[in-house]
Symmetry: C2
């Protein structure tokens, strides 16, 4: 935080009451909120002071939600943020997103992602034989259960691409996507999250099965 409370000239601009240089850097979102992404390290005490001053400004400006993105390297600011009233919204391996709702009205902040999407692949060869696998890990390991190849859709991946990829990874077979045969939703399948499972029909374009090592 700058120490300019008695220094009215900053970068050649007079600062008497505005003190805009003390507001955390932020961008506006499309819903009347602000997004703060902490990019430079900050001492927790400075952070709290700057955060409090920022809130006075945002309240005056009628801002609603405040998003606070703390990269893993800024983990020292998580506890101060929570003590100032922030709540967790979501986290990915490299950052934690916290959120604060300014208005007295109920929060309209949307929830985090709620679903994982999985695919299962029905691959039939010209003899109408179906391609099946056994699990090396997981709950079916060692149970001599045969099942269709399945897997989780990656971030940003199309459903049909995931089906083709999983079949290739697990069996070495190349395939073309034909259609989605069915899908179903189940709940509380991974912590509190839901699961959308799409069963895809694929046509094999190679026939030499190679088992996955791991």
């Amino acid at each position: 935080m700058s120490e300019d409370h008695e220094a009215p000239m900053i970068n050649g601009v007079e600062h008497e009451t505005g003190k805009e240089e003390d507001v955390l850097p932020f961008e506006e979102d499309d819903y009347g909120g602000v997004i703060v992404e902490m990019k430079t390290p900050m001492d927790p005490k400075c952070f709290i002071a700057t955060l409090r001053y920022s809130f006075t400004q945002w309240r005056l400006q009628g801002k609603k939600g405040v998003w606070l993105n703390l990269p893993l390297t800024h983990v020292n600011l998580v506890e101060p943020a929570v003590k100032e009233g922030f709540r967790y919204h979501h986290a990915e391996p490299t950052y934690l997103m916290l959120v604060y709702w300014i208005p007295k009205a109920d929060s309209t902040i949307p929830l985090n992602a709620s679903h994982r999407v999985r695919v299962g692949a029905v691959v039939l060869n010209p003899n109408n034989e179906i391609l099946v696998v056994q699990e090396k890990y997981g709950t079916l390991r060692g149970l001599d259960v045969w099942k269709i190849p399945t897997g989780v859709v990656d971030v940003g991946e199309e459903i049909f691409t995931a089906a083709i990829r999983e079949v290739k990874e697990e069996t070495g077979i190349d395939t073309e996507f034909l259609e989605i045969l069915a899908f179903c939703q189940s709940h509380k399948s991974f912590f509190a999250k839901s699961d959308l499972f799409f069963i895809c029909l694929l046509r094999p374009t190679s026939f030499d099965i190679q088992k996955q090592d791991s």
Copy 2:
């Protein structure tokens, strides 16, 4: 953490080398990992010492992933956990889940939920008029755009239930679910997450439109 390094009798049981009382309380998962849910407050220094001792035990036992669930009230342990090598996995408003992968081999820890699921509702009355709304908030606000009712599927909610609920909330109209007309996937629609959008055909069972206040 107990201070019994020179006190071999704990609860009437002799403890010479095991010190099992110093391992964080945990449950085993189905994949050779352990799940720690911190339920009682802990001083960060005690937490680090207990965590380090726990890791020596878990390594000896061949454990793989370590899940660490820190409720919001235990935010004081987030920074120590990250400094011990934990990474964020996911967060909900009331807790942060961190994870640590013990083996030298690549992590097989599954990713967090990747998708939000939304619904759109096509509601036709007996005159083949379609039910449409205007947004009071969001990017379409004030643009005089008419659109079908849409919304996000709640945690644990079925797709058809969500469609019926959104139509009721936005228009006051009661409906029955008939079928899914189409669905599509888009990416990076909410932070880095993907979006699965299901368009549902609904039959109205009431016809008195009541606009949503908020």
